[in-house]
């Protein structure tokens, strides 16, 4: 059979294909994004879509499962916070076709705002949690997840971490097994979550979970590897790989793929066969606490720690006391934080707002969160998707109560975030009379996650032409007066901000320019160069925070390999010392 080097995300998509999954939905979010990008490659067999947010994706996939299809939705871990509502209730109602909710957690927060451990969602919602430990398992476990979902009548939480989703390992392929959608029949008691029905459904949930725990004690997802009786390790996910590498060869393992409900009889039996038991897991003591609560003695978090990623060396050091052999070099690197790209349309907007210290900017999740970074440093808050508008709303009410009318609040989010969860906030501000100017940074794409289509981009995930929702039309329908501006034109940007502030009606701003990395965007036709004769070394251009602009030997310098000729630096130069050169 064919073997390929696949990321965990690619393998999950392959697994969905082989398991006969028919409907997939997601909102992009690192480290989960590539799952749907890859299910979309099987377009003859799988319907795939970018939903406006994770709640929608979870509901779309659930609806497909209710109608009998096998379905999958995928999200980063904070996406499940958005989708928690349907997730919990779907757990009571159950499914017809297999229903998988993929959560990609991000220990060490490579690209995330917190380090939440979503295994607790499986426990809280009373559903199965499946954790693959490499790409082969990512693929194979999708099929088991479908079967468990159907057999035990519940959603399955399929949990990866960054190192499962974004690590590549070899995968042996199989064939697709078609899943037949049997004719649909209405089932009110099961699928209408009225209180009386929910009351009846709860005992079924408890029964199914108890049955699933029995299944977990003897199933292909959970494996005992007896190599000795001195040390036993219970582990799952990528932590299993690290532990396999770090512990001595005569260590026995109970490797769990089904981590909720925990197969406590199997665990108790394994524990009885070894002298010392370790539980090795990343983040929270999810398994350890439950194992200890069952009266089984084990060692875990007091050694491994509950913050950040593990790796084989860290387990050697923390658990086995083996220090790494390293050499220290005499030079220390300074920080290299991520920054808005050269030519990023968000730069002109943040530069303009940064000029007035009375501007309060309640930001949001996306590339533009980098507006917080020095030298722009132009953001007060960033909480979650959609909070750019609504946290600003709360601040405006607090400023009112404090009698502080010196501040102007700008609630800021991108176009994809606006469609995700900004529209309710926009309704909130105009309904409850907030003194907030909503700003939509419209770059016509979902940027940070690597260019996924959205309801404003004009295309679907399957590559079809679609609607092109325009934020200004939506805002106008709410009752806002929209000001649309090219943020790269600094004079126009500044004028628009003043007009919006002075506007007597509720005003909003839409900055419109496509992401500079967008394949559909026009190619750059010019570059900026510093005229060293006229450059006075005033460093004003450094204030725009462009990675292509630096300062050496008393003069500004523009890296020609990075510059794309947006001219924002040239517009701020008081000596007109930055010139453009045609390409």
């Amino acid at each position: 059979m064919e073997q390929q080097l696949l990321s965990g995300n690619e393998a999950i998509a392959r697994g969905a294909y082989e398991a006969g999954v028919q409907v997939c939905a997601a909102y992009p979010g690192t480290p989960s994004t590539e799952i749907l990008e890859n299910t979309a490659l099987y377009k003859d067999d799988i319907y795939s879509e970018w939903a406006p947010n994770e709640k929608v994706a979870t509901e779309v996939a659930y609806g497909a499962a209710v109608a009998g299809a096998r379905s999958l939705c995928a999200m980063k871990m904070v996406g499940l916070n958005v989708a928690a509502d349907p997730f919990f209730t779907a757990a009571y109602m159950g499914v017809k076709g297999g229903y998988i909710v993929v959560t990609a957690d991000d220990p060490s927060m490579h690209s995330s705002q917190n380090e939440q451990d979503n295994r607790y969602y499986a426990r809280a919602a009373k559903v199965a949690c499946i954790e693959p430990a490499d790409s082969q398992e990512c693929k194979d476990f999708v099929k088991y997840a479908c079967e468990i979902s159907e057999k035990f009548d519940m959603p399955v939480l399929f949990r990866t971490t960054t190192r499962i989703s974004h690590s590549k390992s070899l995968v042996t392929f199989g064939e697709r097994e078609e899943h037949e959608i049997t004719p649909y029949a209405r089932d009110i008691k099961k699928y209408v979550c009225a209180p009386a029905n929910a009351y009846q459904n709860h005992p079924k949930v408890e029964r199914n979970l108890a049955e699933l725990e029995k299944y977990g004690c003897d199933c292909p997802l959970n494996k005992v590897e007896m190599n000795g009786t001195k040390i036993g390790v219970i582990s799952a996910s990528v932590a299993y790989q690290y532990a396999k590498e770090a512990f001595p060869e005569d260590t026995s393992f109970l490797k769990l793929g089904l981590t909720w409900p925990l197969p406590m009889d199997l665990i108790r039996d394994f524990a009885s066969k070894v002298e010392r038991l370790y539980v090795i897991e990343e983040l929270e003591p999810f398994m350890e606490d439950a194992i200890k609560a069952a009266g089984i003695d084990c060692i875990g978090k007091e050694l491994t720690g509950k913050m950040y990623e593990l790796n084989p060396q860290l387990i050697s050091e923390r658990v086995l006391g083996i220090q790494p052999e390293t050499k220290e070099v005499s030079v220390k690197a300074v920080s290299r934080p991520p920054a808005l790209c050269p030519g990023c349309p968000h730069r002109g907007f943040f530069y303009t707002l940064s000029k007035d210290k009375n501007n309060v900017v309640t930001g949001d999740i996306g590339c533009y969160t980098l507006g917080m970074a020095p030298p722009l440093s132009c953001m007060d808050t960033c909480v979650d998707m959609g909070a750019g508008f609504t946290v600003g709303m709360g601040m405006s009410k607090a400023f009112d109560i404090a009698g502080d009318d010196s501040k102007q609040i700008f609630g800021v989010m991108g176009d994809s975030t606006f469609f995700h969860s900004g529209m309710t906030g926009a309704a909130e501000i105009i309904y409850n009379k907030g003194k907030v100017i909503p700003v939509i940074l419209d770059n016509r794409i979902t940027g940070m996650t690597g260019h996924q289509e959205n309801p404003g981009s004009g295309y679907t995930l399957m590559g079809e032409e679609g609607v092109r929702l325009m934020p200004e039309k939506i805002m106008e329908a709410y009752g806002y007066k929209p000001f649309v501006v090219d943020p790269q034109d600094l004079d126009a940007m500044a004028k628009t901000v003043e007009e919006a502030k002075a506007c007597e009606e509720p005003a909003c701003i839409i900055t419109r320019r496509p992401c500079v990395l967008l394949k559909r965007a026009p190619k750059p036709t010019q570059k900026c160069v510093v005229n060293t004769d006229t450059c006075k070394g005033c460093k004003k251009c450094l204030g725009v925070g462009c990675p292509a602009v630096a300062f050496h030997d008393g003069k500004a310098e523009i890296d020609p390999t990075q510059c794309i000729g947006c001219t924002v630096c040239a517009q701020v130069c008081p000596f007109k010392a930055i010139e453009t050169q045609e390409l």
Binding site: P31, K168, E328, V331, P338, P374, P547
Partner: protein, 194 residues
């Protein structure tokens, strides 16, 4: 685990570390090894410091490794070599692109770009310094810097049975084939292998 080897590729987001890891994994899989590779996406990619890790052997467990575990480091930028120096084994080998890229903090004068990164690495490790950036420019396209660097390191992989030139041919897009083959040989020449 005894025969597992590990490579750390470090650089600045967007410099082309991914192609190097594709060349490495392509050759190593062909040679019959178990191979794992790990990278990060998203926020970290926007001009920040990034690493990619590649491991191979009869059986590889961890897709990532920690301090003191890398046999080879490929640094696409000088400061990104010293940042991860403690990931190298004491007898590990570093190949460094003789190229500096300001970070936002050094470009805007908030911090000084450190002097002597290459010398600091040479002092402690077997270090191959290649002006991969300059060589790539001379070849007409700064982007093939990564393949120059790959050419410079491939003899240090200890995988003489792998025809790396063939792997380059199979991996790069057809329209960039000639350029990349030149870049590969220029890298080997720069490291004294041709």
């Amino acid at each position: 685990m005894s025969n597992v080897k590990s490579i750390l590729i470090s650089g600045v987001g967007g410099q082309g570390a991914i192609l190097i890891s594709r060349l490495l994994t392509g050759g190593l899989i062909k040679a019959g090894y178990d191979v794992k590779q790990s990278e990060v996406h998203g926020m970290a990619q926007r001009g920040g410091s990034v690493t990619t890790q590649v491991r191979w052997g009869d059986k590889v467990y961890g897709p990532v490794f920690g301090k003191g575990q890398a046999d080879i480091m490929i640094a696409l930028e000088q400061m990104e070599a010293v940042r991860y120096a403690d990931f190298l084994k004491p007898d590990g080998v570093a190949v460094i692109n003789d190229y500096k890229r300001d970070s936002m903090t050094t470009a805007s004068g908030l911090e000084e770009y450190p002097e002597g990164c290459v010398e600091a690495m040479q002092e402690k490790f077997e270090t191959i310094v290649v002006d991969a950036d300059g060589i790539a420019r001379e070849l007409g396209n700064a982007k093939c810097m990564n393949v120059v660097l790959f050419g410079a390191i491939c003899d240090k992989l200890g995988e003489d049975g792998i025809d790396w030139e063939e792997i380059v041919k199979e991996t790069v897009p057809a329209k960039a084939l000639e350029l990349n083959i030149k870049a590969f040989h220029a890298g080997r020449a720069a490291a004294g292998m041709e």
